[in-house]
Symmetry: C2
Subunit: 234 residues, 2 copies
DNA sequence: TGTACATCAGTGAACGCGCGTTCACTGATGTAC
DNA sequence: TGTACATCAGTGAACGCGCGTTCACTGATGTAC
C-alpha cells in the first residue's frame, strides 16, 4: 500500500480503477451475465486486447467485481453498525440498523446483491478473498447480540428449542469463528435470523412480492423486529 | 384436453414433449443462461429452424420450462401435504412436510430452483401462468396453519407483535387470497416463515453454508421446527 | 372412392451478430552503466 | 548527464466460436367435393 513511485505505476493504477469503474457501471446496468470486455473497451476507447494488460481474463475481472461487491456491502453494514453504536440506544434498536442498511444497499445495487446472494454464475468459483468481507458483514450484524450477551441482557429462553449434539457440531464453525463464548442455541437462532434476512431481501428484490406485499418496507421492518424478539434482544 | 384426433396432431404433441424433455435436461445440466436452441436441435437431430414450428422463440421455450418448474415444485408440495394429511398427526409434524419436500425438490433440481427463486433472467418477464402453481405451493405450505386455526388449536400469542394499519393493508392481498378468515398477525407470521424457508434453502443451494454449516439438513429441520413454534403450531 | 388443393413439419443455407482471446507490432517510459 | 537496452502499455487485425432467427423450398398429411 505504499505510494506508487514511477509515473508508469501511477497511470497503471488509474487505468485499472477506470476499467473497474466502467465495469461496475455495466454490471449495475445489465448484470453479470451481460458483462463484456469488448463493450468495456469500447466505452474506454481502448482496443479490447488492451484490457489484458490489466486483467488476465473476463473471469479475473468479474472476480474483482464480486470482491468489490462484498466489500461495498460489508462497508455499508459496518458503517451503519458504528453509527448506531456511537450513540446510546436499546439492543433492539441497534439490531435493526445493519439489516436495514443491507436492504437499502440491496435496493441500490440489485445486480451486486444478485452476485452475492443470487444464482451462482455457472462454472464459476467465487474468489476466496470474499470470506473476509463476508465475516465483516456477519460480525456487524451480530454485534448487538454479542454485546447484549456480554452485558447479560440477552434473553436466552424466549422459545423452547432443543439443540442436540449433531446440530451443535453442525454449527461449530460459526460458534468458533463468529461468536466468542455464545451458547449453540443462540448461534442457531442467529443463523436462522440470517436466513430470514437474506430471504426477505431476496424475495423483495427478485420480484416475489409483486401482488403479494404492497409495502415491502413495512413488512421488512416487522420481520426484523420479529427476529429481534426471537433471538432474545427485546 | 380432448384426445388428439389426427396423426399429425398426435405426432405434434409427441415432438413438443420431446423438445421439452431435452430442453429440461439441458436446463438441469447447465442452467437457464446456457440454454440454446441449436444444441437442443442438435441432440434431437433436427434442423435448428424446425424448433420454430413448436416454439416461436427461445424465450417462449424458456417460459414453458419456467412454468414446468413451478408446476413440478407445486406438485411435489401438494403430494407431500396430501400424504401427511392422510394419516393422523400433530400440527407441527404436518407443518414440516411441505418445507422438507421443497428442500428435497430444490436439491434435486437446483437450476429449476434458481429459475424460480434465484436471480431473475435480465430483461425477461415471468409468464403470468406461474401464479396458479405459486398459489398451489403456498396453499400446501399454509394448510396446517389454516386447519389448526379452524380447529382452534392455533396459538395466537406466542410472541408479542403489533400490527398497525399500514402493515395490515400491506399484506391484504395475502389475507384476502391465501388465507380465509385469518387475523393479519398470523398472515404476517406466515410470510415471515415463507421468507425464512426460501432463505434457508437458497443459502444452502447457492453455496453459502460452505465452511459455515456442516450438516445443512440438521440445521434446516431445526429452522423449520423453530418456525412452527413462532407461527403457533406447537 | 378418387382427385385437387390446402395445410403444415421439416430442411438447409444464409445473415448478421458479438464475443473472448491471441499475436506480432510500435512507441513511450524506465533502468543500468 | 548521456547512451544502450529492457520493460511494458496499447494497437489493430485476425481466429474461431456459437448463437437466434429468417426464408424459400420440398414432400408428406389432411380436407373438401
Amino acid at each position: 500500500m505504499s505510494a506508487p513511485r514511477t509515473a508508469r505505476e501511477r497511470v497503471r493504477e488509474e487505468v485499472t480503477s477506470e476499467i473497474l469503474a466502467v465495469a461496475r457501471a455495466h454490471l449495475a446496468q445489465d448484470g453479470a451475465a451481460a458483462l463484456s470486455l469488448r463493450s468495456i473497451a469500447r466505452q474506454l476507447e481502448m482496443a479490447p486486447s488492451a484490457l489484458y494488460r490489466y486483467f488476465s481474463s473476463r473471469d479475473a475481472l468479474l472476480s474483482a467485481l464480486i470482491l468489490e461487491a462484498y466489500e461495498s456491502l460489508a462497508d455499508e453494514a459496518e458503517e451503519a453498525s458504528a453509527r448506531v453504536f456511537a450513540r446510546p440506544g436499546g439492543d433492539a434498536e441497534r439490531w435493526v440498523a445493519v439489516p436495514r442498511a443491507m436492504r437499502t444497499w440491496a435496493l441500490g445495487h440489485p445486480h451486486e446483491w444478485a452476485l452475492i446472494f443470487g444464482t451462482p454464475v455457472p462454472g464459476y468459483r467465487a474468489p476466496e478473498d470474499t470470506v473476509v468481507p463476508y465475516a465483516r458483514l456477519a460480525g456487524a450484524l451480530v454485534r448487538p447480540m454479542v454485546e447484549a450477551k456480554r452485558a447479560d441482557r440477552l434473553r436466552m429462553d424466549v422459545l423452547p428449542m432443543e439443540i442436540d449434539n449433531g446440530l451443535r457440531d453442525a454449527v461449530a464453525p460459526v460458534t468458533d469463528g463468529l461468536f466468542a463464548d455464545m451458547p449453540p442455541r443462540q448461534v442457531v437462532l442467529a443463523l436462522q435470523a440470517w436466513s430470514t434476512l437474506i430471504g426477505v431481501i431476496s424475495l423483495e428484490l427478485f420480484g416475489h412480492w409483486r401482488n403479494t406485499i404492497l409495502e415491502p418496507e413495512l413488512f421488512f421492518d416487522a420481520t426484523i423486529a420479529g427476529a429481534a424478539v426471537v433471538i432474545g434482544l427485546v
